[in-house]
Symmetry: C2
Amino acid sequence: MNKTQRTGHGDTRKRLLEATEWLFIEGGYEAMSLRHITTRAGANLAAVNYHFGSKEALMQELLSQRLDPLNHDRLQLLSACEQKHPDGLGAAAVLGMLFIPAFRLSHGNTSGPAFMRLLGRVYSDPSLFIRSYLQDHYRPISGRFFEAFSRALPALPRQELGLRLHFALKALSGMLAGEDMQELISSINKGETINDAELLARLISLLSPILTAPFGTPAQVKVIEQLLELDRSTARTGRAADTTHTAGESSAPQWIKEGRLAS
Amino acid sequence: MNKTQRTGHGDTRKRLLEATEWLFIEGGYEAMSLRHITTRAGANLAAVNYHFGSKEALMQELLSQRLDPLNHDRLQLLSACEQKHPDGLGAAAVLGMLFIPAFRLSHGNTSGPAFMRLLGRVYSDPSLFIRSYLQDHYRPISGRFFEAFSRALPALPRQELGLRLHFALKALSGMLAGEDMQELISSINKGETINDAELLARLISLLSPILTAPFGTPAQVKVIEQLLELDRSTARTGRAADTTHTAGESSAPQWIKEGRLAS
DNA sequence: GTAGCGTTCATACACACGTTTCAATCCGCA
DNA sequence: TGCGGATTGAAACGTGTGTATGAACGCTAC
């Protein structure tokens, strides 16, 4: 008993989850239809509603299965680290505690490198369902880490910190969602075999300046002022009035005359 | 003649474009249906196919109308600047040339602050149509700017530069797509009225470290190594075996017993 | 061997989508 | 005033979606 999947010649449930994961990684939530999923899993269309009840429940199961252990480990690492260094942590270290569990899970586990891309998709998917799921399930962990960052950067106003964090995490997820992560890893490994720690340090060294950078210095402001002046002087010239586009004389369904070669 | 819109009591065409812009900003390409668009514009469902030929053509018209002038100005500013400073530009200045025309257009033009959010959406929309449109229409400008960045940062291998640029632009677009930009502006204006140049300098000071940051230093690597060790020691303990989820004994359609209160 | 339960299957439903059709309407121009 | 082309209107088409139904199947236990 409690074998979780006690019957059926069927690992159908598992195959559905795997197919869902792949299709979600490739195209996001909206682009992933039940028919694609079931076809890819070699299962019947009704299987999803039988095993999970709905498409949303299937997705929730997948997310929960992948993200719950990750965030559990993140919190555990953060707690252990805070206990070990009660005098405070650096922002780079807190970033590291966000990345390291993800890094480890993507290396050891099944479905290997896809895990990173899943993470990227989840955090950048525009669908309402995914966004509200994240917001509902991970308020506690994001709150804990926000406090950790706030302690690491006491000089930063909380609003400014929130902005910069959002900034940094968008950058990260946008990168993970593509194949760029693989490129990064392979481009780094190209030189020679590289330590995990070095790879992570390199990633973090790209992100932590977003959190720690000072405001614009007078010198930078001066550069921008010069550019603004140059822009004002060039923008006025050399643009075709205002009706930049809006082609066409008159006559029937306008679109019909814009040579529709492609399509 | 050549009044562009010679007949009809109708600014229907313009109203359709405006409605499309709003709905695209709010939910992205896939979430924006012709029925929503025409309803919001107060037009008939068939109006889109009459005036533009298809949904994709409508979207292309919108993008072209908004993005072509922007990129025209960007290139013009870049050329002017390169001509004025033949000895080379800093990375922050090149970033400025990407932002300043967008900044000006979003201030002066109609549809005011929505322009920024449109930009953010365009660059972060996952739909195949939007992505291939961007790739097809803006290869030249992205090539030009890539070369400019490459000259500004000669020490960076091109592959690494591409990675960091992608990184920085994802961060920017992810931020613009939300309401965060307004928050940033208002949170900055909160203190006191701020110069445009200062606002832009602040934005650029957040982004340029992504391009200019050195690789991870040995000290950073050491921090990460400590964290990795701590993670390895804590990860083994305190997780419920491996079957983290997979609830349930056995018996009929499993999902039926997971108390479906919500829905 | 047969009853019962978990699972799979083919099929249908209701709905939303982009697109098409064709009649009705508006408006400038003769 | 009336013709004719540009625009609008209402309705339908075909396809794809998530979901629901009921019959068939496979296995285990009696």
